[in-house]
Symmetry: C2
Subunit: 364 residues, 2 copies
């Protein structure tokens, strides 16, 4: 099946940033992708148009009932100027899982993949090439029906916007201090924690604010039922190296099935490093720290890829991990994944897809 996505090019292209030290998600490209949904036509009218404000009725359901889902992935420019995307199919699958949890109609996964490719190609001159930089791709769905009844919307917009992102580690990859959150809960089994939906992020703002005020970089979330099992760190999945084994919380229904998490697990298995997906209590981590078996800890996510954890604060006790410097495994995983993402290292997993530049010529 092929899709023709009409493109309306901007008549007033914006200047591209000269440097890439901007904050995450502040600089957007010249175009965006839109697809509409209504009950009669289903998803219809895919198009690429100049980046512009959207007009919504103030009663649009997204403003009131948060019926919205999103994704986040990246495109990279290689040294020989090929454009690569990292595992877009994983994000597209997860987008539909999120849609189902939020009572949003499924998207056609082939059309979404085609849209991702086309919008990136239209704005390919925006993809930065400096080490560590990339084009962040944000697909999202919003409920637009102007009705205040609490029920799934009968109208939606699916959109893709693109943001130029600088190097997450402009000053080198550095471990961060983490606050283990005792009071606030991000999500609970039976809720929407395993969907990539707005409410999970809103629920985390206050805890993050308070942790920032205390001088920590992120919070480590514990489960909402027992308040002792480790879930995620900020908006990242989390891994611990205990002795020679790497452990990460199992997909229990309240955490996100991260694409980076899945890639790290595959990579570790490929390297013959034992990795376990299971329940991990904060007590187990404290015990491991005391006995000297807690060797490394790191978060994983699209934005930072790997974020080493230098210390954990739990109930007024501060656990320094790996002398507070980036661990060997963290570096090795970071180098391997970013190397594959940028086409510098071989990709034994078939993770990377290359965008055919020939196709792009049509639109420019």
């Amino acid at each position: 099946m092929t899709y023709t996505i009409p493109v309306e090019l901007t008549s007033s292209p914006k200047p591209k940033p000269a440097h890439h030290n901007q904050a995450f998600g502040t600089v957007f490209t010249d175009h965006m992708f839109i697809l509409d949904y209504d009950a009669e036509q289903g998803w219809h009218d895919p198009r690429i148009v100049p980046y512009q404000p959207i007009q919504l009725d103030p009663a649009a359901k997204v403003f009131h009932y948060g019926q919205t889902v999103f994704e986040g992935l990246k495109a990279y420019l290689t040294e020989d100027r090929r454009i690569l995307m990292f595992r877009p199919n994983k994000n597209i699958e997860r987008l539909n899982l999120s849609n189902r949890r939020l009572s949003i109609p499924d998207l056609d996964e082939e059309l979404v993949l085609e849209a991702l490719k086309q919008i990136v190609l239209v704005d390919r001159d925006w993809i930065p090439s400096e080490p560590g930089t990339s084009l962040y791709i944000r697909p999202f769905v919003i409920a637009t029906e102007p009705v205040l009844g609490v029920a799934p919307s009968l109208q939606y917009k699916f959109m893709i916007i693109l943001s130029v992102v600088g190097s997450y580690y402009a000053e080198g990859i550095n471990p961060v201090g983490i606050y283990v959150e005792p009071k606030y809960v991000r999500a609970v089994v039976g809720g929407v924690g395993n969907a990539k939906t707005a409410g999970n992020y809103a629920a985390g703002l206050k805890a993050q604010d308070e942790a920032t005020a205390k001088g920590y970089s992120q919070v480590l979330w514990l489960d909402g039922v027992h308040r002792k099992y480790i879930e995620e760190v900020g908006s990242m999945n989390v891994f611990f190296k205990l002795g020679d084994t790497v452990v990460t919380p199992a997909l229990n229904g309240s955490i996100l099935d991260g694409v980076t998490r899945s890639s790290v697990i595959q990579l570790l298995q490929h390297w013959g490093i034992p990795v376990e997906e299971r329940a991990i209590s904060i007590d187990e981590i404290i015990e491991a720290h005391r006995s000297g078996t807690l060797v490394e800890a790191f978060g994983t996510g699209t934005a930072a890829v790997i974020s080493p954890i230098g210390s954990l604060e739990w109930q007024d006790e501060k656990l320094v991990i790996g002398q507070g410097v980036t661990g060997e495994l963290s570096s090795r995983v970071y180098d391997a994944i970013t190397g594959i993402q940028r086409g510098i290292l071989e990709d034994p997993f078939g993770w990377v897809i290359e965008l055919p530049l020939a196709d792009a010529a049509k639109h420019s």
Copy 2:
């Protein structure tokens, strides 16, 4: 302190509905209130303008991270054409509690009250007068900063829109069938369940869909930790009459502090009926049903005021309550509250405020 709220009247008033059988939240009035926030000016530029679409950048935080809160209250037209609002200060207080939980800057409560009054007065000709009808008032805050970083927005809009609502009980007050939800969880202690924010409603859509498909009107939510304590029914608080005592779940942090709930409690106390706010397990309710002490059950909320529960389905057992007809207490509470709201009954609690029509003259 007085506030001057500039008013720009519409040049193309919409036709008012001839009947009031429209679905809830589908018919909006001619005007809306807006107030902006940015980090430099704080909340500023209050104004009443024609009801119109809002323009937002596609990166506006509300679309991605759900940083938004809302309220819901009503204005009524009495038989002698006075305009009454029911306990607006309770909603304004709760709005700021929600704001704090969602890391949104506090609103000036006096300004919000003034805005509520002014916008209702500007659109006073829209307030329906038939029994059971009212003007539903929806204040809400949305995060508008176009930045994809997960952090509180530095820009917001506070708006008030008004919707003409027909009688909830056009065919008489009738008990509904409720499905006790075994799988999905609305909110958990430590989360945002006690704030009136979008994510709580998004989290409930799927359960409501499945209950509707099974033929139930709403779900009864159990707590996310033990999965046995009763929380709310749909988007309402819930009360049970057990023998001569009325019980309702305590404000434990995961349920909303409903204005109707608080009014019902005050009313029962005023009548000398014992009322307890405490943890109530579903087992206790089943036990009470078996032993014949479960006399009545009803939900409470601004939309329906009182919604009698005719039956509960729990694990394939169907409990019929009060022979499935509206109970005596449900009717008594309903009549008392709606009577006070419409200025038919005396208001011993000071719940009702009357809008000074003289002030309105200025704008028309």
